[in-house]
Amino acid sequence: MDDTMGEAKIILEAKNITKTFPGVVAVNDVSFAVKEGTVTAIVGENGAGKSTLMKILAGVYPDYVGKIFLKGKEVHFKNPREAINAGIVLIPQELDLVPNLTVMENIHLGREPLDFWGFVNYRKMYTETKDLLSRVRLRIDPKKKVQDLSTGQQQLVAIAKALAIQAMIIIMDEPTSAISEKEIENLFEIVRNLRQQGKAILYISHKLDEIFAIADEIMIMRDGKLVARGDIKDFSYDDVVRFMVGRSIEQFYVKGQSEIRDEVLRVENMSVLDPDKEDLIVDNVSFSVRKGEVLGVYGLIGAGRTELMEAIFGFHHPSRVRGDVLIEGKRVSIRTPADAIKAGIGYVPEDRKLSGLILQLTVLLNFSLPNLKNLSRFGFIRMNQEKDLAHEYVKKLGIKTTSLNQLVENLSGGNQQKVVLAKWLALRPKVLLLDEPTRGIDVNAKSELYSLISELAKTGLGIVLVSSELPEVLAMSDRIMVMSEGKKTAEFTREEASEEKLLKAAIPRSFRLVSASS
């Protein structure tokens, strides 16, 4: 073990790293160094380039520009395996464990200990796993399947896996995004332990409290650039926020006052059944939204927010959904998204690439898809009317595209999201469901989107804003409802709400039980 006292050695150095995706520079000329026995926090808004930068270090993206030196020697990993062999392990936000394999099989995946005959030596695997699990203070049976563990426990298994391959640099991407407070404390204890052993930890998070509790150094990214780095003691909370958003919070979140009028959407006793298990993903949720109001819906991953929105929008098979939807006081039957659209609901889904857009089609085709019924006669599309409408909305929302015939995959994230918005706004809906509308788009586009949301509310639209970003929900909502494990657990007015209250209502009860017993 290296002595962690005194001047720590630089283990990894990156120089002028740049990585572009079509339409966006994800990482822009970033240089930094990582020391042994140090926890380096990497902070930034979603889409700032943190994850991309880390994926470059971990060999996920081999096609970058710039140089990386590991212990003074230049390296260029072509795939994750090379990076792992060199001692760099990335623990992604969505853990890359195989759920239906056991803990010990996961930890040794691809490096199974073999006996003389070439069969897997399960006894050796078992004892090694036991030892590794004790190092991350996880007292579970190595033969347990990963799918039966809580998210926090899975996180620890992933760390144990990194230890098993003698990783020198461990990158953790948002490790606390879905685990309870108690599990967070345990995780921190382990991170400190690893630091003691001389490992370099790169810790991605946007939860500033955590960062100030655990990190030695900090790197702040914005729009792909490294805007500040140094000893965390030299930074105040406000400094970090200012560097992250590039302006003060008041300027960033634009929330105008709009006149809140009659109720426009009411959802009563909505439940969604899990297709595989006899379980409810959404459990008896009721809420309402008024004209001109922004209702924030907060919850952690797996809280059932997206499923609730999809159910309202008629995306799930009617046999899986219970409950009523009322538009302007009138009960409407929504069995398909087409019904929802007819009833005046628009839905900007969570993952625009997966659900919001057809990437290889043009801006025009994406824009007009839900509007075609109004734009055609006897099934034939009125091309000129279609183009005029598209031009109108491209202009209105300030969508930056070379032409209507540009493929949406070539647009930046913010402009892609605006295309999704545009296609719904052209239908003149009464209610707009926004599911994580600002995920993965740059800071300026975010701010623009916020002011757009405010503008739309002012025109009398009822808006449901689903978000897992606390500052965003708090700043943008007139009212906030919190979900956890499919249930509605709390509702606050703008004035009542605070980060603490929202988080408390969002942490699942079952997690608390699991961590208390383990």
Partner: protein, 346 residues
């Protein structure tokens, strides 16, 4: 990383063009790949014209077109199906079945033993029934795929096999021949100096192209194949869209069945065997992507002509039929590789 794809007709809207776009166009070698299939077609044409003096004669050129018209009917239906991300392996069997249905009705009528009568059919009646049979088989494919969520490959593999069995039951394994001059006209006649099958395929092509480009349904086909989830979330009835494409494919296979049967003046139990592969090949060579959302009728026409010219030219130049198969196989692969390379570089 992927860039511009070649099937998207960027018909350069001047009102929003920017210098950046102009620059991009200037060094965009990939735009060549947009015409790659046309280049291949031209190349083959030149090669065969040089090797055989019988290749470029009016008679032979009409022959190529007439021979291609059957595959074109199948390939257009296939293009619709492939655009939604599906596949239809049953078109060869449907071709055979509809031809056998038309031939038997025409020659022997339909004997309803329960009523003790035999219904006689004219060319029109027999053809319409045959087309309905094709449409119904397509409907069956579509229902199996959309209602029971069976993967298209498996569903149509099943109907391909079953329908071939029905042909055997229907014909008892024997060809039905001598169908009369009127029916013959569908396969061998000329109208205004153009062979009847070419007329039929031509009309179908124009209608199919117009529908794909200018109707709501056409847009839905691209949307469902491009990203079904996003399409559904935009209010598109993806299941209905897919169902209709299989019905189109079945219907056009029946049209092809009539042409083949009329041309040979005979319904063979083995008619259309493996034809689905040529249809898929034509669509793919023409730029259609088997993962859906990408492809055009125009591309499929060129793909069909490439296969037609290849078949014809290899015969004229005296290449053995075995080598013809080899050549065709490699051209399919080469066309797809060329497309991959075209969009793969950045």
């Amino acid at each position: 990383m992927r860039m511009l794809k070649n099937n998207q007709k960027v018909d350069n809207q001047t009102q929003m063009a920017s210098p950046a776009e102009a620059r991009k166009k200037a060094f965009d070698l990939r735009s060549i790949s947009r015409y790659q299939s046309l280049i291949i077609l031209g190349g083959l044409f030149v090669v065969f014209a040089t090797l055989s003096n019988r290749f470029v004669t009016p008679g032979n050129l009409w022959t190529i077109l007439r021979q291609s018209s059957v595959n074109l009917c199948l390939a257009i239906g296939m293009t619709y199906v492939i655009l939604t991300g599906g596949i239809d392996l049953s078109v060869g069997s449907i071709l055979g079945f509809s031809g056998a249905v038309a031939a038997k009705l025409l020659k022997y009528g339909l004997s309803l033993t329960a009523f003790g009568v035999v219904l006689q059919f004219g060319v029109m009646g027999a053809s319409i029934i045959a087309l309905i049979v094709g449409l119904a088989t397509g409907l069956l494919n579509g229902l199996i795929i959309t209602v029971f969520s069976v993967p298209p490959f498996v569903a149509t593999l099943g109907t391909m096999t079953a329908v071939r069995g029905f042909i055997m039951l229907w014909t008892k394994g024997y060809p039905i021949t001598k169908l009369g001059e009127t029916f013959d006209f569908i396969g061998s006649g000329w109208i205004l100096g153009v062979p009847t099958p070419v007329w039929i395929a031509g009309v179908i092509t124009v209608v199919a192209s117009v529908f794909l480009r200018f109707t709501r349904f056409g847009r839905y086909v691209y949307a469902v194949g491009g990203n079904e989830r996003a399409a559904v979330l935009s209010g598109v009835n993806a299941k209905r869209t897919k169902l209709i494409t299989y019905m189109i494919s079945g219907f056009l296979a029946a049209v092809a069945g009539l042409i083949v049967t009329a041309r040979l003046d005979s319904a063979q139990p083995n008619a259309g065997l493996m034809y689905e592969l040529d249809a898929i090949a034509a669509a793919v060579i023409g730029g259609a992507s088997l993962s859906g959302g990408k492809g055009t009728i125009e591309g499929t026409i060129i793909g069909t002509l490439i296969i037609g010219v290849l078949n014809n030219g290899l015969v004229l130049t005296g290449v053995s039929p075995f080598w013809q198969q080899v050549a065709k196989g490699f051209i399919i692969i080469a066309a797809v590789i060329a497309e991959r390379i075209g969009k793969g570089r950045e």
